[in-house]
Symmetry: C2
Subunit: 490 residues, 2 copies
C-alpha cells in the first residue's frame, strides 16, 4: 500500500517553508529550519544514548521548545513516544512505563523527585536527562525519511471504568487525519497562529504541534496557563486560534475587558461540556467559541461546531469532521432516533487502532472500526451532537480526566480502608472535583488518607473531600451505585 506512505512530516515541512516561523517560546522565535536543526541535533544525541527505531521510550517533560524538539527527534528516529502526564506521581508513572515496556525515559531535572523514585522502582529503565543531552556524544542519526501512516507515533495513557490506564496507540495517520479534518472545518491561512497553553503531553497540545508541522503554522507555547498573559499574547503575537478547556475560558472571559482582536478567529473549547452561561457570556463579549468533542482515542477533536452554526447551535458540539463518522447507539447496538440519547460511537481515520498490548480491551471497545466511547449524547434532527454525560462516571476536572475507579483502587489498597466510592461534584473553578466515600475498618484520620493519596495519585486526582460511611452502596453485581452516593451529598 504505497498510498499510505508519506515523507516524514518535519522533513517535508522544512523542505517546503524553512524560513516560516514555527514556534515562539519565552519571547524567542524559531523558524522551521531552526526547529529542524535542533531536533536533528537531539536525534543524534538520543542515538548516542542508544535509542533506536521502533523502540518505545517514555517522555516526561514540561511545556517548552525543547519538548517540541524531543518529540520531533523521536519522529525523525522512528521512536514511539510514550507520553507521560507530568502531574502523575512516581507510582503512576512507573505503572505506565512498565506497562508500555519502555526501555528509556527522557525527562528533565525539574522532575528529580519523580525520576529518582522511578529509578528505584524500574531499575532497568534508563533515564536520559534533557539537560545532559547537550553533553552527549552526537552520532549521525539514522533518519526515517518516509513514514507509513500506519506506523505508531505516540502512546498516551487514559484510564477507563476498569481503573487501569491503557496506552492509546496514535499512528502518524491518526495525527495527520486529525489535522486535516480540523483544517477542512476551520479553514487555513498563512497568517494562522495557534496558542498552546494546554499541556503538550495531552493530545490537545500534541495535536497543535502536529498541525503546526502539517500546516506550516506558527505555534506559541506557554509553560503554564495565565489568563492575563494569554490575553496579552493573543494581541502581541497575532494569535488566531487557541485551544482551551472551560476552566481556562472562564478565567479569560472574566479577565477580558475589551474585545479580542479581529484576527482572533477561534477559541476551540474541549475537555468536557461547558456551562451554557459561560457560552452566553462569551457570545456577549464576542469571543468566537467553537465547542468540540474528542478524546485521546480520536487524536483530539472529532466533532466540532462549524463557523456558521457557532451561535444557532450554542451548546452543541457540532458535527463529525469530514473524514469521521458518528452514531448514537442504544443498549442493543441499534442507532437511536433523533433526540433520543444513547452511547456515542465514532469512526474515522483519526480514531486509534487500539490499546497497547491489550487485544481484549481493544476488541471490546472497537468493532468494524467503530469505537464505543462510553459517553452519552444525542443528535438533533439536523445531526448536531449534544453530549449529555462523559463516560457515565468520568470526572473532568480542569480539563483532566479523572476516573473514579482508579482513585477507588488506590483507596482500597490502604490496609485500613474496607471499601471506597468516588464521584465528581460541580465546582465553579474546575468544572468538577472528585470526592470520596470511605468505609474504614479502624480509626483512620482524614489527614492520613489525604497523605496516602498524595503519594499515589496526581494532585488533580486526590479527592477534595472525604466522607466516612458504614458501607459503600453496591448493587447485586457488586457495582458501586454512584447515584446513591450522590444522594448522600445532596
Amino acid at each position: 500500500m504505497t498510498n499510505q506512505v508519506m515523507p516524514n512530516f518535519i522533513i517535508k515541512r522544512v523542505s517546503l517553508t524553512p524560513q516560516r516561523e514555527a514556534v515562539r517560546f519565552e519571547g524567542k522565535k524559531y523558524t522551521f529550519s531552526e526547529l529542524y536543526e535542533k531536533s536533528y541535533q537531539m536525534a543524534g544525541q538520543l542515538s548516542g544514548m542508544g535509542l533506536k527505531k521502533g523502540q518505545y521510550a517514555g517522555v516526561l517533560l514540561n511545556n517548552h521548545v525543547d519538548t517540541v524538539c524531543i518529540y520531533l527527534a523521536f519522529q525523525l528516529l522512528g521512536l514511539r513516544a510514550v507520553i507521560l502526564n507530568n502531574r502523575l506521581t512516581a507510582d503512576e508513572l512507573a505503572w505506565q512505563i512498565n506497562d508500555s515496556k519502555a526501555a528509556f525515559l527522557v525527562t528533565e531535572n525539574v522532575f528529580l523527585s519523580k525520576w529518582e523514585v522511578l529509578n528505584e522502582l524500574l531499575p532497568k529503565v534508563k533515564t536520559i536527562l534533557k539537560e545532559e543531552l547537550a553533553e552527549t556524544d552526537f552520532i549521525e542519526p539514522a533518519i526515517v525519511e518516509e513514514i507509513n501512516l500506519d506506523d505508531i507515533c505516540t502512546i498516551m495513557y487514559t484510564s477507563g471504568t476498569t481503573g487501569h490506564p491503557k496506552g492509546v496507540l496514535q499512528t502518524y495517520g491518526n495525527h495527520w487525519w486529525s489535522a486535516v479534518g480540523s483544517a477542512l472545518n476551520l479553514g487555513l491561512s498563512e497568517k494562522d497562529c495557534w496558542l498552546c497553553t494546554v499541556p503538550l503531553f495531552h493530545i490537545s497540545g500534541y495535536s497543535i504541534l502536529m498541525r503546526s508541522i502539517i500546516y506550516g503554522m506558527k505555534m506559541v507555547i506557554l509553560e503554564t496557563f495565565n489568563e492575563r498573559a494569554v490575553i496579552e499574547i493573543i494581541r502581541s503575537e497575532k494569535v488566531t486560534i487557541m485551544s482551551v478547556v472551560s476552566t481556562m475560558l472562564n478565567r479569560i472571559e472574566a479577565e477580558l475587558k475589551d474585545n479580542l482582536p479581529a484576527e482572533f478567529r477561534c477559541m476551540l473549547l474541549g475537555g468536557g461540556p461547558a456551562p451554557k452561561s459561560l457560552l452566553e457570556k462569551c457570545v456577549s463579549k464576542q469571543i468566537p467559541v467553537f465547542q468540540t468533542y474528542g478524546m485521546t482515542e480520536t487524536s483530539s477533536q472529532i466533532v466540532t461546531l462549524s463557523p456558521e452554526h457557532s451561535l444557532s447551535k450554542l451548546s452543541s458540539a457540532g458535527k463529525p469532521l469530514f473524514p469521521s463518522q458518528l452514531k448514537i447507539i442504544d443498549i442493543n447496538g441499534n442507532e437511536t432516533a433523533p433526540k433520543v440519547a444513547g452511547e456515542i460511537a465514532v469512526k474515522g481515520p483519526n480514531v486509534t487502532i487500539g490499546y497497547l498490548n491489550r487485544e481484549k480491551e481493544t476488541s471490546e471497545k472497537m468493532m468494524n472500526g467503530w469505537l464505543s466511547t462510553g459517553d452519552i449524547g444525542y443528535l438533533d434532527e439536523e445531526g448536531f451532537l449534544y453530549v449529555l454525560d462523559r463516560r457515565s462516571d468520568l470526572i473532568i476536572s480542569g480539563g483532566e480526566n479523572v476516573y473514579p475507579a482508579e482513585i477507588e483502587g488506590i483507596l482500597v489498597s490502604h490496609p485500613a480502608i474496607m471499601d471506597a466510592g468516588v464521584i465528581g461534584i460541580k465546582d465553579d473553578e474546575w468544572g468538577e472535583i472528585p470526592i470520596a466515600f470511605i468505609a474504614a475498618n479502624s480509626e483512620l484520620s482524614e489527614e492520613a488518607i489525604f497523605e496516602f493519596c498524595r503519594q499515589k495519585l496526581a494532585k488533580y486526582k486526590v479527592p477534595k473531600q472525604l466522607n466516612f460511611i458504614a458501607e459503600i452502596p453496591r448493587n447485586a453485581s457488586k457495582k458501586i451505585m454512584r447515584r446513591e452516593l450522590r444522594k448522600l451529598v445532596e
Copy 2:
C-alpha cells in the same frame, strides 16, 4: 484497513453544510443541498436505466451543472466514470469506450453526430441521453454510504509515446489527497470560490469539483472560456481562485485593464511550461500566478509554487505538495545533483495506482510507488523544480496534450501514406501546434489528408501544416528522429 474508509464525500458534505453555495452556473446558484437532491434524483434515474455499483460507464458531456450532478450520481452509486474528452472524434471515443469495456455511455443531444456513429461502432454499448433521463423511471438508488479510498472513482485516458491512449485509474483517495495537498499549500477559507472554465472532463476541471465537495467551496462553472466573461465573473462572483492554461492566461492578461479584485488570490497555471514574458507581464499587472506541474496520473497538480516564492522563483513550478515526493533521475535511475536535468519521477497518495487493464505499461512506468513521468526537468539547490520539456515529444496545444505517435498512427493508416512524422512548433495563440511530415507513395492532396485526419482525430490534434518529404528520418532502431524533422522547419 478501516483507516481507508470514509463517508461518501457528497453525502458528508451535504450533512455538514447543506445551505452553503456549491455551484453557480448560467446565473443560477445551487446549494450543496440542492446539488445533492439533483444528484440523488439522477442516481435514481441511472438506476432505472440499469446501472449498478462497480460498473464502468462512459460519460461524454459539456461543462454544465447537470454534468456535475451526473458525476456525483456516479459517486453515489459507486459507478466508475470513464470520462471522455468531448473534442474527440467518434473513432477515438469508440476506441476508449471499447478499451474500458464500459457497457453504458451517458451523453447529451448536442453530441448527436458522435453518439450516432458510436451506436454503430459499438452496438452493445447502451447510450443514455441526459435529456431523456428526466423521463426515466426513478428507482430508489442503492447509495454507497461509505467509500474506501482505494475504490476507483474515475478513469481518464491519456496517450503516451506508444500512441495508444491508456485509461488512468483515479481512486477516491487520489482525488482526496490531491484536494488536501492543494489546501495545505494554498490555504482554505470559507470565502473561497473557484472559477472553472477548464473542461470538467479534464483532471483540471474534475479536481475543482472534488475540491468544492471536500472543502465546502463554491465553484463557478462556465461552459466555454471567454476572457471578457472571466474578468467580469471574477468581480461579480468574488472569485478567489481560478485554474488556467497559458493560452487562457495570455488572453486574460491582454484583456485586463484594471487590477483584479484584492480577494482574487490565486491564478493556478497548469498545462505545460509558460513563457517567462507572460509571467513577467502578469507580475506587472499584479495577477497572482502560481505555476504548477501535474498530469492526469497525479490527479492534477503535484508541484506548486507556494505563495512566498511566487516572485523569487518566477519560472519554477515549485515544490511537491505536502503528501507527495519528487526526484530527478538520470538514465541509470540514480538521483541527479542539483541543477542537473533528468527525468522527473513522482510519488504520493495522489498518484494513480496504474492504467486500466494494462499491467505491463503500469509496471513499466511505476516502481515502488514512483511514477516515471517521461518529463525532463531539474531541481535547484533549494529543491525548486524547473520543467524543461514535457515528455520529450509531447505537444501541449491550448492545454490539451497531443501525442505525435497517435497522429502518426492515424496518418500511416491511410493507404496512400508510407510513413509520417509529427512534431510541435511554437504558436503565439496555442503555445504549440502539431505539424506533420509525410512520405506518400502516390499523388495525394493536402485536402484529402486533412479531411482524413478530421474524421479520425479531434480538431486540436489535426496537423496544422503538412510537409511532403521523400523519407521520414529514422535511426537504427527505426525510431523517428524528430530533431531532424525540426531542422527541416528551421
